[in-house]
């Protein structure tokens, strides 16, 4: 029996709601160290809401989220900030600060949280940007770059502090399929090289099959998770809704 790596993030009977309207009920899952965990489902199923819960941008209606063995939901703001220090996030729209250059975007977290000397920060910024293939673009502003390059710059900012966990919201959103696949490959390579745990929220079937170690399928109608497992297995032997999701996704491309 292979030993299962420890869970880095756990959800315990998590219920998410906007006021009275319940989005997903009774969610239980554990994200293990070193895997690429995909949260998938159709539009409006609560994928992004789940991400917001895991990051503390929204509070659960019931249940709790654990980072390692510590409860994130019960933690104070200060403790949460400490836990989130180990986390990097790549937002759907990259969310780069438009009034700063790429170098400034990547160096801001380093300046705020490390207290490293400026020369050292410059070295790290150069490294992170060259990891995503943007070496030489240090002095560019985000709006001077293409969408794919902005995504990669956002990725460089997300890994600035060497996070243990990397959250990615819709990595291939608004990217053409080849650019999306290249970003997927980059995410996989970075994950393997840095040993990061990656949590991806997406509805892009090609991306799910390409990078996912395990996937969780949220169903908007049932208001719960209806399947969990390796993406290829879900595609071939999952519940009918999940197989339909994969099938339609492929046709849709």
């Amino acid at each position: 029996m292979v030993t299962v790596p420890e869970a880095v993030i756990t959800a315990r009977s998590l219920t998410m709601a906007f006021g009275e309207r319940v989005v997903i009920e009774d969610l239980d899952f554990a994200i293990r160290r070193g895997e690429v965990y995909v949260v998938m489902g159709g539009s409006g199923c609560g994928k992004s809401t789940l991400l917001r819960h895991l990051l503390g941008l929204q509070e659960p209606a019931a249940g709790e989220v654990l980072y390692g063995t510590e409860s994130f939901t019960a933690a104070s703001q200060r403790e949460r900030e400490r836990m989130l220090r180990r986390v990097g996030v790549l937002y759907q729209g990259s969310a780069l600060w438009t009034s700063m250059t790429l170098a400034e975007n990547v160096s801001l977290p380093l300046q705020q949280f490390t207290g490293l000397p400026a020369a050292r920060i410059r070295e790290v910024v150069e490294l992170k940007l060259s990891l995503v293939g943007l070496h030489g673009f240090e002095e560019y502003f985000p709006w001077e770059l293409s969408g794919g390059m902005q995504k990669r710059a956002g990725l460089a900012r997300a890994i600035a502090l060497d996070p243990e966990i990397l959250f990615i919201d819709e990595p291939s959103a608004s990217l053409d399929p080849p650019t999306g696949r290249r970003l997927d490959r980059l995410i996989l390579e970075l994950k393997q090289a840095l040993g990061t745990t990656v949590v991806v929220v997406t509805h892009d079937v090609a991306s799910i099959l390409g990078i996912g170690t395990r996937a969780l399928f949220l169903d908007a109608d049932a208001k719960r998770a209806i399947a969990e497992g390796p993406p290829a297995e879900l595609r071939d032997g999952g519940p009918p809704q999940v197989r339909a999701f994969f099938g339609q996704g492929l046709v849709g491309h």
Partner: protein, 381 residues
């Protein structure tokens, strides 16, 4: 990031030795983290300068913990070796580090960016060209706004009626309290200055005339224009600049809707219509401010103060003030919308656009006020 065990981790260490055939062996040990001190590549470079080696071999098997600090060191080392044409052996590195280095080594897209400061003469020239471009931009903006006004007049302009309603509401009624307060205070100030100066000639009983004429002819419109430059002008600029950032302006353009018609015209109409009304209101408040001083300091009856004002201020004064008010309103709206449309797609530019809108709005108002004085003087109005 930092390991927080009870025993402090061994610090990062670097040891150089020679293997057979002169190969330089770089042995790394300890914790290579950003949080701690880590050796630089200078030692290795010095060694290579002193005694050239055909190859460099890196051994990181004794490294206990690492993060970006080690990767930075290794990329520097690779670059140093490459510059000297020395081969490098990475067999002693963990697999994940080797992968990471391969990612870094991928040829970066060559990117050039003018970072150098050009010489003085060139800067002067560039600045002149920028000014010319900006002048053209302003002229084009005013021109297309005029054309759009024509389409508005013939009911062919594309805009939403509800937007105009909301803008009228925002520019007019909601501005009443601040316009009232500021103009009341200006009336008080004018009355004080008038009384203290007129007293020297024993003419202080003319204070109602002075305040009435000053407020109705000029100060009411001027002060209200400045208030609106800070209120509406800044808000127009910030809103349109934000719409540039979020590509909403582009979305209008691609739908075939002219942003001038959709965004500029309603704001221009709203301020130009509202300013005369606000000016009239401001005139009343200014006269009341003057009356507050006149009745308390001069012990003049309130009714007699008002009667004196009404005999000194003729209807031509009022109309002139309203015309000025409408003009200032149009100028503030144009300055605000132009600064918004000029903004580039960055959040910093939003604040800049608002600032510039207020500054150019006030400058335009004061400039127009001067022109009005001269023209009114020429015609003896």
């Amino acid at each position: 990031m930092s390991s927080d065990g009870s025993a402090a981790p061994a610090p990062a260490a670097l040891a150089l030795s020679r293997a057979s055939g002169g190969t330089l062996v770089v042995r790394l040990a300890g914790s290579w983290r950003l949080a701690g001190e880590t050796p630089g590549v200078d030692d290795v470079e010095r060694e290579l300068e002193a005694e050239p080696a055909p190859r460099v071999s890196v051994d990181a098997t004794a490294v206990t913990a690492w993060d970006s600090a080690l990767v930075v060191f290794l990329t520097r080392l690779l670059a140093a070796c490459k510059a000297r044409g020395v081969g490098i052996e990475r067999g002693g590195l963990p697999g994940s580090l080797q992968r990471l280095l391969e990612l870094v080594q991928e040829p970066a897209i060559p990117a050039t960016r003018p970072g150098e400061r050009p010489p003085l003469l060139e800067r002067v020239g560039l600045r002149a060209i920028t000014w010319r471009d900006q002048a053209q931009e302003v002229a084009a903006f005013v021109g297309s706004t005029t054309l759009a006004l024509g389409r508005f007049g013939t009911r062919r302009a594309r805009y939403r009626g509800i937007d105009l309603g909301i803008l009228l509401q925002g520019a007019g009624p909601t501005a009443l309290p601040i316009v009232a307060l500021v103009n009341f205070l200006v009336g008080i100030i004018l009355a004080f200055v008038g009384i203290t100066q007129l007293r020297r000639f024993g003419a202080e009983h003319y204070v109602a005339d002075i305040v009435g004429i000053a407020v109705v002819r000029d100060m009411g419109a001027l002060i209200t224009g400045v208030v609106l430059a800070g209120r509406s002008g800044a808000s127009y600029a910030a809103q349109i600049a934000t719409m540039q950032v979020t590509q909403e302006v582009d979305a209008l353009r691609t739908l075939g809707i002219s942003p001038i018609e959709f965004l500029v015209i309603p704001r221009l109409i709203a301020l130009t219509l509202m300013m005369p009304l606000l000016t009239l209101f401001a005139d009343v408040m200014g006269v009341l401010g003057g009356a507050a001083v006149g009745t308390t300091m001069m012990h003049q009856a309130f009714a007699s103060y008002l009667r004196q004002t009404s005999t000194s201020v003729v209807s031509g004064d009022v109309v002139g003030g309203l015309v000025k008010g409408a003009t200032y309103g149009a100028l503030v709206a144009l300055a605000g919308t132009l600064r918004g449309m000029q903004a580039e797609r960055s959040s910093e530019r939003v604040g800049e656009a608002a600032t510039k809108a207020v500054v150019s709005g006030i400058v335009l108002i004061i400039g127009a006020c001067g022109v009005f004085q001269y023209v009114f003087f020429l015609f003896g109005w």
